[in-house]
Amino acid sequence: MTLVDLDIEGLLEPFFSKVGLRDDLSGHERRALVEAADELVWYEPGSDLVVEGERPRRSMLVARGYSARYRDLAGGDRQMLALHVTGDFVDLHSFLLKEMDHSVGALTRCLVVEFPHERLVSVTERFPHLTRLLWLMTLLDSAINREWLVGLGRKSAAQRTAHLICETYTRLHAIGLARDHQFSFPITQSAMADAVGISTVHINRVLQELRQSHLIVWDGGDLTIRNWGELAATADFDDRYLHLVKEHR
């Protein structure tokens, strides 16, 4: 095992934890994924990992930092389509869809592990169970999309904001990157507004309300959930859609 392999395996731990919550990964499968990785690239906040219309030749896993899928509209508005945390593949689906129908941007400084598509093809030909798990990852993304859709359609801005906070904490806590209802969340209010589908004026108001109700403490860095029960109830948050259950897949 080379030094670079060790580095990559360490960087992929959050991803292995994410998968390991839902099914067991064999040593061979871990090794196969580590060997499929190629470059490591840092992205500055505000830069794009991949752009709408692009036809990438590799899929990216974000080993550090927050990133987001988004679409920009003609009038200048941005709708965030998904928030990605450490350990998430952000464009696994481009491996099959080929052309990006949205962009992926770094919200904070991000460390990306690149997986050339031809190596992923090889993985799918030799490791069917691992392939199903990669497929599962895209399905988990879809499940989160569905939950966001329900919120955008039928919940209030305050409920959606509360939900996003509960969801992000749960996703990080599940892979051991957050605990005691606190997590590092250095994203801008503008990004929060894009995620929840409202204006910055409105998110400002919503966050102030959440703070004044003593539900959260957040100054742009660490976010502390002071009253999980009430925040989750406000959000109508139920983690079932995150499928945090281990089953043979």
Partner: protein
């Protein structure tokens, strides 16, 4: 770019904007306020007694520009008694 502050008033009280937003001019600020009102009104009006939302746009210079939305429910009785007094 000048900074504009958007104070929101609704049935729950007044929220004073301490952060503000940099925008090219008051017209842009009014457009921003209307967008924000569209979102806020959508949620506020679902609450039974929340009938009005307004945003006062401060720019530190002249008096605030107020953009407001209100909902009125008029029942047939009220309509009839109004017509009687016209």
């Amino acid at each position: 770019m000048p900074r504009y502050y958007f104070d929101v008033r609704d049935m729950e009280g007044t929220f004073v904007d301490e952060m503000g937003l940099d925008l090219p001019d008051m017209d842009a600020a009014i457009r921003e306020a209307r967008k924000a009102l569209a979102d806020m009104v959508r949620d506020a009006l679902r609450e039974l007694n929340h009938d009005a939302v307004s945003i006062a746009i401060r720019d530190g210079a002249d008096g605030p520009v107020v953009v407001s939305v209100s909902l009125t429910t008029v029942t047939p009785d009220q309509l009839n008694s109004r017509q009687a007094t016209d």
